[in-house]
Amino acid sequence: MPADYLPILVMVVVVVAFAAIALTLSAMTGPRRPNSAKLAPYESGMPPFGSARRRFSIKYYLTAVLFILFDIEIIFFYPWAVLFRQLELFGLIEMGIFIFVLLIGYVYVWRKGGFEWD
């Protein structure tokens, strides 16, 4: 029932308020003595060069894509798991086929070096 989720909504409101108060308090207390050296990006004492928003390795992107595709697998596993006592052998076979097809993709990614970081 939606009413069961009301306490979670209450907690969301309290937590948002807590974060907002903490961030405001942080901005209000303490000294304010900015200078250009302090506001420059920290690069271990070296003079900073270039912007940090540069392009990074495609590997991170590939990891995120693989994550999405396997996250879908999790979301299919959960309803299957809670129903497993009813589905029994039938459930095992249908999930077996589903995972088998995905495993082909997994092996393909492995063979193509998709899990290697160099």
């Binding site: 979670i8 209450v10 907690m11 961030l23 901005a27 506001l39 940090a52």
Partner: protein, 337 residues
Amino acid sequence: MDLDPIVVTLIEALIKTIVVIIALLTAFAYLTLVERYVIAKIQSRIGPNRVGAIGGIALLQPIADAIKMIFKEDFWPAQADKIIYTIAPGIAVGTALLAWAVMPLHPSTEIFGYHIDFYIADVNIAVLYLLAIGSLGIYGIVLGGWGSNNKYSMLGALRSTAQMISYEISLGLALVGVLMLSGSLSLVDIVEKQSFIWNVVWQPLGFIIYFIAAVAEVNRLPFDLPEAETELVAGYQTEYSSLKFALFYMAEYINMLTVSAIASTMFLGGYQGPFGILPGVHWLILKIMFFIFVMMWMRGTLPRFRYDQLMGFGWKVLLPLALANIFVTAIVMVIFK
């Protein structure tokens, strides 16, 4: 005086929420102290012993730390994206706290004829709720790193995100075995069904996979590459100061408590005592303390992974093991039922 039942629910939820948040913040404050002691002992040196020391234990140290943090200068780096830089720590700590909305802490009891449930909400998707909130927590780190506009922060955030999403899959799959046994996604149901035998007996592999993946999720040693001091200064936190830094720190420790509580609830019977002896919140706290101690011990003794080893381990070892665990559980359940 008769109150509308919805108003009663709201007031009850508000009180519970505030109690839980205060308890978590206190636990966070003292965990930082305990951690410094444990690491000091492991490395055979003296920990903090100055502020309000009683028998060498500085009980006032966390309060001193907090006051110091509040009165530190809070600044916005010149090139930072002001809005995103500011809200990122809020997102991190908010999602960390919200996970506790579904955690059952103690069996329901009657106190002065008034029925009290020791959880904020009992919903029948609790396990999925935890995963969903956990995946939102990634935003705090990725936005913090991007918003700072610092090379260390950016790299730390990227590494952290890639690591967390990689291990999140094994984390989610490790819990599937428990769900197959209990047939429910409600944490209250899952705990109640363990009054006789804990799930870890049937799911030892699932338990180990969960614990390893959880340590990686909270970026603790040996998986703390996102903030490997020798390479990345402090990772995504590099540019942060004052309370904003404290909020990130808080999120990290609360996440440690959360994954320990989930491990206790899903595998070790939550608030259930062994063989049903005196179930209660003290059992849950003991179990959480146990996991926290193991994590501190690992920090004190283990060296750090290399990044390629870390990602390879998650994708090539843990993921297939978690899948194998599910199918072995399924086959055993089909044969013996």
